[in-house]
Amino acid sequence: MKLTGKQTWLFENDIYIEETGTVVGPKEGEGPLRHQFDRTYEDLYCEQPSWELAERQLMKEAIEVCLEKANVRKEAIDFFVAGDLLNQNVTANYVAREMGFPFLGVFGACSTVMEALLIGAMLIDGQFARRVLTATSSHYGAAERQFRFPTTLGVQKANSAAWTVTGGAAALVSKQPSPFRIRAATAGKVIDGGSDNPLNMGTAMAPAAVDTIRQHFFDLQLDERAYDLIVTGDLGKVGSIIAKQMLKEEGLEVGERYRDCGVMIYHSEQNAFAGGSGCACCAVVTYGHLFNEMKRGKVKNMLIVATGALFSPTMIKQKQTIPSIAHAVAIEAVSR
């Protein structure tokens, strides 16, 4: 049985992330991780006529970069598992149309990257596919106008607000040995802490991250020392402190091992409020920066916990709260 405990899969066969591709926008290209991404656009429109088409370009290009780096032809992809933040998953749908892969669309808000990755790993492990391509994307302008306000509207945002990361990321999952092996994955529950402030997603998502992390360690009977890094997706400055405190109360002293992609992606003087968010946040930081750290041998293994606020402007207007989810994937470095 590959199901270990209640919500966790342990992959006994060697499942690898063969290659990754990351493409980011201008703000990310000026941040502290600017040299960690494959490609950077200097223009938020990415040479496209609208934000949505720009996001599509980012996902498409991330896939192209990934396949190019892996030296794998499009025809070698068995399934494409992808999702994004936009209504009806339009970015992933249209990219799938263009690429012509058999496609499984997934939505987990900003947790989509790890949801796609764990489904990909299961397909490979179960011998349902030889190569699965996973991808996700988000765009500041497209997200801002769908979930909040027009990008040029004058509003004063609180310091708890997040800045949606503009980027696309792809990861190719297969049994081809690479430096990155997928060890285990935990699918999260939808948790609602009762937050209803769309300009404070970190607070809304922290309990979901904590629940998934706690369950992961419980299912595998491990403690926090099992990983060099425990990384959450986009809790930001506010949510990550709450998560750390809650983990401490659960008996998990994560301390210096704990990181948050939303905190890592921007400089504090970049006016990004509490930090980065969006599907691409966890994706580009993990597949770009953290994988580079693994290649350099600085990180042996890590638990990536992508966090997603399942936030709908319609539901908020109907006085509903913001439910959240987090999916975790454990990745270990393989020395060759």
Binding site: T152, Q156, A158, D192, T321
Partner: protein, 136 residues
């Protein structure tokens, strides 16, 4: 998860709102906009020999056009982020709301989206004017 308990856990970690600083920034920026408007009014009176009422209307118009022109570059948004209520002076903000909506949704049809954000302002204004008219 219980709403009350999580709220009590999360509350101490929320960033504090710099009310005093915000009020000062709003006062200074709002004041500067008013000062500019006054200078503009004096200039209109002096150079174009406009009467009081007429000069006021022209100043309002100029400020709204200026706010609309400063919208596409994101300058107006940045100014509002800095000064809060200081730049949310009704006239200029209204121009910003409509311009930003028109710009943002132009690909899906400009006319139907101009009031995407500012629609409630129009409704409030019409209703308030009607009620006020009953007493005048």
């Amino acid at each position: 998860m219980q709403k009350k308990t999580y709220e009590s856990i999360a509350q101490p970690f929320q960033p504090s709102v710099p009310y005093v600083m915000n009020a000062m920034k709003a006062f200074i920026v709002g004041g500067l906009i008013c000062l500019f408007a006054q200078l503009l009014m004096d200039a209109y009176r002096f150079f174009f020999s406009m009467e009081g009422e007429q000069a006021v209307r022209w100043v309002n118009g100029t400020l709204m056009v200026a706010a609309a022109l400063f919208t596409p570059s994101g300058f107006y948004r940045k100014m509002t982020q800095f000064s809060g209520a200081g730049a949310l002076v009704p006239m200029t903000s209204l121009a910003n709301i409509w311009t930003s909506s028109a710009l943002e949704y132009r690909k899906e049809g400009l006319s139907e989206h101009v009031f995407h954000v500012g629609g409630s302002i129009v409704v409030t204004a019409v209703v308030a004017t009607y009620i006020a008219s009953l007493f005048l």
